[in-house]
């Protein structure tokens, strides 16, 4: 009896793994999709969120970036430069997104983001606040 369960269990796992493999083949499974992360040198904590979570391929959309110190104190007067692209295809963003507004309490608006393909995108932010500058790369998956 036990043997049968073991075989059934393995079959279920195999079927699930197979479907998963087929579905997500191109995108690495250990990709860090966290939207709140520390910058490369640990100077800031950054959270990114789309203004409209239902943004679609090939439409312009806006992101809100929240920057704090590692202890959570909002960073005011920061500047953000934006870059990005598709690491698996070796190309950049199809637009030139810009920081267009300072919203207060460490929050900033980035306009002009557009993704023209499905798949794994990187959104790279270079953050400058006073004397300190630091970088962070977020991973996103466009369905």
């Amino acid at each position: 009896m036990k043997k049968i369960f073991a075989i059934l269990g393995i079959l279920v796992l195999a079927a699930a793994a197979f479907v998963a493999f087929k579905m997500f083949q191109p995108i690495p499974d250990d990709l860090d999709l966290a939207t709140t992360r520390a910058t490369d040198n640990g100077h800031f904590m950054v959270t990114v969120s789309p203004e409209n979570a239902a943004y679609q391929r090939n439409t312009l959309h806006t992101w809100i970036v929240e920057i704090t110190t590692p202890d959570g104190a909002p960073i005011e007067g920061g500047e953000i430069l934006i870059d990005g692209g598709m690491p698996q295809h070796g190309h950049g963003l199809p637009t030139n997104p810009l920081m267009t507004e300072t919203l207060g309490e460490g929050r900033y608006k980035i306009e002009g983001v557009r993704f023209n393909m499905r798949g794994w995108w990187e959104l790279k932010l270079a953050i400058v606040a006073g004397e300190i500058s630091d970088n962070i790369t977020f991973n996103l998956v466009m369905k």
């Binding site: 369960f5 059934l8 997500f24 090939n58 295809h89 950049g92 306009e111 002009g112 023209n116 393909m117």
Partner: protein
């Protein structure tokens, strides 16, 4: 003993469920990821034509009717024989089957099909226009297309379309119809310079409004359902694709190459099969030395265009001009980059590429398979290593679109 049995039954059901789903999809030739890609390429995901805030009459029925008449109006040309429809023939997917088009003279690029063009973010092969209405003004004043001037357009509208024009845009000022344009011949430019700023502005406004009516009409030209759309709708409805909706195994294999090994979906994606962006794909130049640098030269042109979204003749607030404001200027990328064209109906409209350089689809497939270096700038393509069978399948799939 009952518990393990129930457990066994549940696991058994789960396994057979997963397997059945998998084999159902396999029997139709697609796995789940491929089915999802297929869905994104089908008309099922086509949204409504996006609003154009720069064109107040974009969806106005009277403007659509006026625009249709103007699209077919040969009076808006230097020889009274050229209209938009000369090169954009309705029964031919609104293109002309020629490598280079014939108007007053010969164009330097291939005419583009217009169905679904209301979805385009940038117009022309190089995207030097940011709206349909601004685009329509280009051919009217091009010496090789309509060969007209904006002052003559204004005069013709006043003489022949006064009523529908005034109903939409208000009273027409009295017009001077001597050929005058800032873009024309030396004589036309001199005539333009002799006009007062107010006269120039009045003419520009009538000219822009003419473009807005034509654009309203073009927005109604929608993509047609193809065999692939029917195939995908059947699969999504959980039905076996039969009859009109059926694809052959070769065509299905071709789709898999399009979405997989061929990486065509990287640039030909979404229901129009275009990413609305510009790429250097190493297409040979018809002229040597190269005179057409594609998107690279269009960046400055669209920015300087007085008829762009941010200009005085646009109805949009600056905040509504995102496409232009956030335009990518990655100049190193754009040398000889051209817009990925929609592939709907592609098999029926050779020759291919921005100047009709490739006469047939097998030549296009060979172009992608080899990925030759670009004559200027850098191609984004890499050789594909397709076998003859794979090329045949890809060709069969392109014919389904």
């Amino acid at each position: 003993m009952i518990r393990p049995l129930a457990l066994g039954a549940v696991i058994g059901l789960a396994v057979s469920g997963a397997m059945a789903t998998y084999f159902y999809l396999q029997s139709n030739g697609l796995n789940e990821a491929e089915l999802e890609t297929a869905r994104t390429l089908s008309l099922a995901t086509l949204r409504a034509v996006p609003a154009d805030p720069s064109n107040m009459v974009a969806d106005n029925p009277a403007a659509i009717a006026l625009g249709e008449a103007l699209f077919n109006e040969v009076g808006l040309s230097a020889n009274g024989a050229v209209s938009c429809a000369t090169c954009h023939v309705e029964s031919r997917q609104f293109q002309d089957d020629l490598a280079l088009s014939k108007g007053i003279g010969t164009t330097s690029r291939r005419a583009m099909p217009l169905r679904g063009v209301g979805h385009a973010l940038w117009l022309f092969w190089d995207g030097r226009k940011d709206s349909l209405w601004a685009q329509a003004l280009g051919p009217l004043e091009s010496a090789v297309e309509h060969g007209f001037t904006r002052s003559e357009v204004a005069g013709y509208i006043a003489a022949h379309y006064r009523e529908p024009y005034e109903n939409l845009f208000g009273p027409l000022p009295a017009q001077n119809t001597n050929p005058a344009s800032p873009l024309g011949t030396a004589a036309q430019q001199a005539a333009w310079a002799a006009l007062s700023a107010e006269q120039q502005d009045q003419i520009n406004r009538i000219f822009a409004n003419t473009g807005k009516a034509i654009a309203a009409f073009e927005r109604t030209l929608l993509p047609l359902e193809n065999r692939f759309d029917r195939y995908v709708s059947a699969l999504l409805a959980g039905q076996a694709p039969t009859g009109e909706a059926a694809l052959t195994q070769l065509e299905i294999d071709g789709f898999k190459i399009f979405a997989g090994k061929g990486a065509c979906v990287n640039c030909h994606n979404g229901p129009r099969l275009t990413d609305e962006f510009f790429h250097n794909t190493g297409v040979a130049s018809p002229q040597n030395p190269v005179v057409d640098f594609g998107r690279l030269e269009a960046l400055a042109q669209v920015e300087a265009d007085e008829f762009n979204c941010l200009g005085p003749y646009s109805d949009a607030a600056p905040a509504q001009c995102g496409t232009l404001r956030f335009m990518s200027r990655g100049e190193h990328l754009f040398e000889r980059a051209f817009k990925s064209p929609s592939l709907r109906g592609v098999a029926d409209r050779p020759p291919y590429m921005h100047a009709g350089q490739l006469a047939t689809l097998p030549l296009v497939i060979e172009h992608y398979n080899r990925a030759m270096p670009s004559i200027s700038g850098h191609t984004e393509l890499e050789p594909l290593g397709l076998t003859t069978e794979e090329k045949a399948a890809l060709l069969a799939f392109l014919k389904v679109l």
